[in-house]
Symmetry: C2
């Protein structure tokens, strides 16, 4: 009997959790965002659950109104390095922007995290939406969506050249002869492109997994094409099974059309599991959280997402007419469409929509017992909608602990999820091949 | 009786050590440069010795010929984060370039390391000499020396504004009222300058020591003026006591002229201690290392530093006439002058000069017993040449272990160096005050 296909599970970590009111719970750590020990313990919990990886979102800007909820925190590549030091196996994925970084710097930093962790690093590539970030980098506003994606593509091409600078066996370390490396196996990038000219080799040798796993999370048309070309794991947000299935098969087709094996990309929709020992308890926890949402703050946030004035949104009315189309939006395009469609489809008032978004900002919120959460995961997984899930606990650390201690064992008992790690690197956890080195001389048959 | 003035000691760490042939010793780890455990153990050794700090140099480029000795390694801010996770007290100083970074990114990353380490971070500010680095960042060659320092000064101004974005008590965390931070105590940078426009507040709250300690290591005229204005610790290289004394008093005068308390800057010359249990043993170790130097490689390096062709340097002759003056050099100016003066003053042949530079690249190499090394340190310290030393072990880990186990106890017995840490932050170790927050509203007397 063939063992069933295996799930991939990532824990998406955010200070006190994904529910925007989680910080107001009595047990929540008010300084969680800058508390490295908090994140180290979360990573150890995820590792105890044999999860594939943990993940941090990022944008180089202080978003939102700090009066109304915690914002800010730690830059994720340095945070991952501090977590690498206290974990052994779990994959470590950080977000970083191709719009506001230089490829040499970023390729180098991710290569270093990959070395420090023994090949456990992943990079969630983002182009960073919003004028606020642009204004921290001497720009008047954000570059256009298509321009950001064009730069991102060239950025990835440069990063890959840099990660291939050193062949795996370049370091020969012949002390007697005084030869440290075989310099014919260390290659300059020699990149001359539209956005970047990068001449030299990277100063970090190639890691155990070749290079960090490339993750992507944008679901716009540009985003999906980018994912098909470069991504090895994709985080995505869907409210319905049909939407998730359509996205899944569309992305596999695009990946094949880009000349890649569809098995070389893993698709993980987000899920916000609100777990109770009974259905009632899970609904009570969900209500408790929703009641802590500050409606004015949430309305301001929603107005920002929809590019309308807060006053145009009436809490007890549906969304106004005349909203922009996705084409007119210059960032977070697919999230915009998801929210508008959700509101229209279910005829939600602004207040109801805020409740639905408060837990997961557009990701699927699912309340239930551990058994029901496992069923929800298995259902989408086996219906061709996912290779696994991006777990977004509404409250941290408790939501991750409950997931690891109560949901993971059910998935293990059903034969859907590993009981022990079988590999060392993030690539091995995700079932991804180590990429070939583009510079490596393939021996020719005689 | 007043206790004597206290020494400050920093350990400058480099893969297998500062002697360029150290990697060829039988016991040296050929992969030390990318081995995080190697550096974590070194940091723990330095912490066992109650040293103020450890330090990593950096340049975003693969320097030199990897055939001839190890080059490359780990990006130092992520390396420091991994070290912070396994240490408690030791200060953590990384080098980063103002020429090839954006202030928002770098201020954020150092602020994050400062948070992760509980206020133990330091930033060695460099402007990065050399065309090779420039060519990794879409430039044809390096910007002029003065232009790099102009940008560096504005970079520091922006970084300080960003580090002051959050007042110390900005986070009020009133869960009942739903107020997380007092937004009147979080300030946008609003920087509009020549090189940078940075609008927003940093997304990392202020650290336990206010902001990372600013370190500087350039000794050109521009470098010394920059240090006088911004630096809180200075690494420098001198071969003679007279040069070190002249530098020390000159820099204190410049610091006072810049309107700062001369006590707010600590000056640490580099020393390469070759330690043996007898004088003979230390000289034997020095000879053993020097004999492992590859003369052709060292001649190429020296030729690069002197901006001449390797063929113009005869191993058994003195330096040729007609070398450039410091004014004509566009990077590492003061190191250039130091090397030329050393060779001329002591009438060294190229081969002898190579031997002198091989151990410490222009820093003072001192061979002797632990007692003699302690004497050398005490001598300069009490002769107005130093506030402490930048210890550059020729071989790692052994050179640091010997220093910590055999030299530090002598300095402690002489009452010159702490037996236990008295503070938690790097600023406390260095005896530097926590900087005031420029945005803080000072209460007015009634």
């Amino acid at each position: 009997m063939t063992p069933p296909r295996q799930l991939h599970l990532n824990a998406f970590l955010m200070s006190t959790g994904h529910h925007e009111a989680s910080w107001r719970l009595p047990e929540s750590n008010s300084h969680a965002g800058t508390d490295v020990a908090h994140f180290q313990r979360l990573a150890q919990t995820a590792e105890r659950g044999k999860l594939d990886s943990i993940f941090f979102a990022d944008s180089p800007v202080l978003h939102g109104n700090v009066a109304q909820r915690p914002y800010g925190g730690l830059e994720p590549t340095v945070l991952l390095a501090a977590i690498a030091a206290v974990t052994e196996r779990i994959g470590l994925i950080a977000t970083a922007s191709t719009t506001y970084n230089e490829p040499y710097n970023l390729a180098r930093r991710f290569a270093s995290v990959d070395q420090i962790s023994g090949g456990r690093a992943g990079w969630n590539v983002v182009t960073t939406a919003g004028d606020a970030a642009a204004k921290n980098f001497s720009l008047a506003g954000q570059p256009a969506h298509s321009q950001r994606y064009e730069r991102a593509a060239e950025f990835l091409d440069v990063a890959k050249k840099l990660w291939n600078s050193w062949e795996d066996d370049a370091i020969v370390a012949d002390k007697a002869a005084g030869v440290w490396a075989d310099s014919s196996r260390v290659h300059p990038a020699n990149h001359r492109g539209t956005h970047f000219q990068v001449e030299g080799a990277l100063d970090v040798p190639r890691s155990a997994q070749g290079h960090p796993v490339i993750v992507q999370a944008g679901s716009s048309e540009n985003g999906k094409d980018f994912a098909a070309r470069y991504a090895e794991a994709v985080f995505t947000a869907h409210q319905t099974l049909a939407d998730a299935q359509a996205f899944y098969s569309d992305l596999l087709q695009r990946t094949a059309a880009a000349g890649r094996d569809p098995d070389s990309i893993k698709i993980l929709p987000g899920i916000v599991p609100v777990i109770g020992s009974t259905e009632e308890e899970s609904l009570r926890l969900e209500r408790e959280l929703d009641e802590l949402i500050l409606p004015e703050h949430a309305r301001n946030q929603l107005a920002g997402l929809l590019r309308v004035s807060p006053e145009s949104l009436q809490l007890d009315a549906q969304l106004p007419d005349g909203l922009l189309s996705e084409d007119e939006i210059e960032g977070a395009k697919s999230r915009y469409t998801l929210i508008v469609n959700l509101a229209r489809r279910e005829r939600l008032t602004v207040r109801q929509l805020i409740g639905r978004l408060g837990g997961g900002r557009g990701h699927r919120t699912f309340s239930g017992t551990p058994e029901q959460v496992a069923d929800a995961i298995q259902g989408w997984f086996q219906a061709g909608a996912a290779d696994g899930f991006n777990i977004m606990p509404p409250v941290l650390p408790s939501g991750l602990e409950t997931f690891v201690d109560q949901v993971v064992p059910i998935l293990q008992d059903r034969g859907l999820f590993r009981r022990e790690y079988t590999g060392q690197t993030l690539r091995e956890h995700f079932g991804l091949a180590k990429p070939a080195n583009s510079f490596e001389r393939v021996p020719q048959p005689a």
